[in-house]
Amino acid sequence: MAQIFHRSTNFISRFSVFSFIFMMGFAVLAVLAAARSPYLTRQNITRQQPIQFSHKHHVGDDGIDCRYCHTSVETSAFAGIPPTKTCMNCHSVLFSNAGYLEPIRESYRTDKSIEWVKIHRLADFVYFNHSIHVNKGVGCSTCHGRVDEMPLVFQANTLLMQWCVECHRNPAPNLRPMDKVYAMDWTPTPDQEELGKKFMKERNIRTTAELTSCSTCHR
């Protein structure tokens, strides 16, 4: 009677039992890597907006302060998306015939909102508050990157919890002098270590234990 299994089956069966451990390991790594990939974090991905609004032009070239449009950043959790009227402050005169600004004029005429595409999306169980960050000296570009160099805005950081907690464990390196919070080009000076410690004390920034406690961000 002929053999049912070929001789090579010995090797294949041993190899597959042995490699199963590695395969499981790879599977876990693949899941972890996918969660950190731009595909899921949306890092560095620009999105088509209803109007090709360029932050590079308005912030970088024209030097308009962040707060001209994002008026509630200092006082509320939400930085604020400007109403169409804010666009019209200038564009009732400037480029008032330009075809690509027609959606703005239409929105202004008809009182219908422009549906901007949200770039920085946090999970709904994260209660991020802009005002506390800017009022304690964490600047815009620390999280949002060089918006003044972005023709179309993209998410410069992962916005993963890991990334948030990195700073919540030790905020000192990211604390700026108060007059530099809205400066796009701020970089730490050599004395940042000292300054950071000083700002921590002056601004009553909470301890690492408090900043990393669950309910600081999750409620």
Partner: protein
């Protein structure tokens, strides 16, 4: 397979499909909660805005305190005490909201004006130096000419801070030495004379004018 086990298999499959159908609802996706975030779209309201427009003539809680800040156009009253804090706030707000057109010095040469917006008049011209405080307040609130009103962007207190700073800008080009407190005047005199001496030794004829 017996009839009984076939029936059991069919029942299990049916139950599995039935419960799988509920997964979408059973899964509590906490990252996408059915709640409204600021400016998120809504399929409940016809205009798709979850953020509801205010009912006309609504008075927000606490905003009655701003009543004293509403100074009429033809009044020169200034409803807040002017101190360093208010001026610094005014400078800060002026830089955010006004400099795009009015320029850092208030002479109407801001970046946006340079790029084609109508040049606003200089704050240093006689007409605006004589203009009443209420006139400035009215223009910031309701706009003037090509300038839209800024009531949505600048709260009343900040409007007054800006007016205080504009007054300081106007003064900066018309201050007289005699207006300074004696202490500062002396300091200026000393600096002036020492400057002249230095200029004298350096043989620079223009030096004495500082």
């Amino acid at each position: 397979m017996t009839n009984a086990s076939r029936l059991l298999l069919a029942a299990c499959t049916a139950a599995g499909l039935f419960f799988a159908g509920g997964c979408r609802y059973l899964k509590q996706d906490m990252a996408n909660q059915p709640k409204n975030l600021p400016l998120s779209p809504s399929d409940f309201f016809e205009d798709a805005r979850s953020e509801r427009p205010q009912v006309e003539n609504t008075v927000a809680r606490g905003s009655l305190a701003d009543d004293a800040l509403f100074v009429p156009k033809d009044s020169n009253a200034f409803p807040l005490p002017v101190n360093r804090e208010l001026l610094e706030r005014g400078q800060d707000r002026f830089k955010i909201f006004c400099t795009p057109c009015h320029g850092l010095q208030g002479d109407g040469n801001g970046m946006v004006a340079m790029r084609g917006m109508k040049h606003p008049p200089s704050f240093h011209q006689d007409r605006l130096r004589q203009a009443l405080n209420g006139y400035f307040y009215d223009n910031i609130t309701n706009g003037f000419g090509a300038m839209f009103g800024y009531s949505a962007q600048i709260p009343p207190r900040d409007r007054w801070a800006i007016i205080a700073y504009v007054r300081a800008l106007q003064l900066s080009r018309n201050a007289k030495v005699a207006d300074l407190p004696a202490e500062l005047r002396e300091k200026l005199n000393r600096a002036g004379s020492s400057g002249a001496n230095e200029a004298g030794t350096a043989k620079d004829p223009a030096g004495g004018h500082h």
